[in-house]
Amino acid sequence: MSEHIASVKDYLTVYAILMVLLVATVVAAFVDLGPLNFPFSMAIAVVKAVFIILIFMHVKHNEPLVRVFAVAAFLWLAILIGLSLADYFTRGWLNIPGK
């Protein structure tokens, strides 16, 4: 439960990590990583979000049920985006009129 009181140091550490990741994502955007630029920037965004969710939003020290709700939200989003992309990416594979 959020009875747990995180130390100020923990919060500052997470903040420092978030700032480092921000700099990393900007720098990486200017470097040619080939097809990896987009996945890399998204990976950094996901790591940032996970730190915010676990520490700032106290999910790490919360009820298991809250964790289930938090995971469910993003799981459904992953399904939405994953299946949409599976559709659009594979359309070119078959020569179907009106695709």
């Binding site: 921000l22 990583l33 809250v66 939200a73 985006i81």
Partner: protein
């Protein structure tokens, strides 16, 4: 009324009658907020999914359009928003420890950072307005430097980028305006000593909302500003 009601046991003044314990009450509030945030994820998720599909079907159009955004201002705003998440987390902590002065200070700091974010966003919007990049109002591809060999589809999809840009950042800014309003009320209550270790749920819950809005921006920033910058 008092005579007919069930015997009234002594309890914390913050505990509503339909809850057994303050802990159960707080857990319910947290779970309720996460339920709301799940719907918010879906709400923004549709825009994100649409954006990604368009971005990958016409990458050239989105890269060209993205160049018109200010990477510098976008990056500064990301830093501002991440900092505001820190101040919110510290405000919640001050609620847990019962430090009223720190609660008010960190909440006010968050409001100030939120206003700075919106101010910078406003500067960006006015630049894009002057470059005639507002779809449905004054959209023109003049500023975009579209190569002459670009297809009609690419030219049309540049406008689509800005439809997504204004909708997504606008919706995000709208959430921030609500958040700032909520924190103004919470800060006022905090200054009157309403929150302490026994009851800080409103700070915690509104904090969850603010962090969520921060997370939305964490994804908006690379998606909108950092498309193919290396080219």
């Amino acid at each position: 009324m008092a005579e007919t009601a069930a015997p009234h046991l002594e309890h914390s003044p913050h505990l509503a009658h339909h809850f057994e314990t303050p802990t159960q009450q707080r857990e319910s509030a947290t779970l309720g907020m996460w339920t709301f945030l799940a719907t918010e994820v879906m709400f923004f998720g549709g825009l994100f999914a649409g954006f990604i599909v368009y971005r990958f079907t016409t990458p050239q159009a989105f890269a060209l359009s993205s160049r018109q955004l200010s990477v510098l201002l976008g990056s500064i705003n990301t830093a501002v928003l991440l900092t505001s998440s820190l101040t919110v987390a510290l405000a919640v902590r001050a609620g847990q420890t019962g430090d009223r002065r720190l609660q008010v200070r960190f909440l006010l700091a968050t409001i100030v950072l939120g206003v700075i974010f919106l101010g910078i966003k406003g500067v960006e919007y006015s630049e894009e307005f002057e470059k005639q990049l507002v779809p449905g109002y004054n959209f023109s591809t003049q500023a975009l430097n579209i190569p002459s060999d670009a297809s009609d589809l690419v030219v049309r999809r540049t406008q689509m980028f800005f439809v997504f840009y204004f909708f997504m950042t606008g919706l995000h800014a709208f959430h921030m305006i609500i958040g700032i309003g909520v924190f103004a009320v919470i800060a006022w209550f905090a200054s009157r000593g309403k929150y302490g270790p026994e009851y800080y749920t409103p700070i915690e819950i509104s904090g969850l909302y603010w962090h969520f809005v921060d997370i939305v921006w964490v994804f908006l920033y690379p998606l909108l500003y950092l498309i193919d910058l290396h080219k």
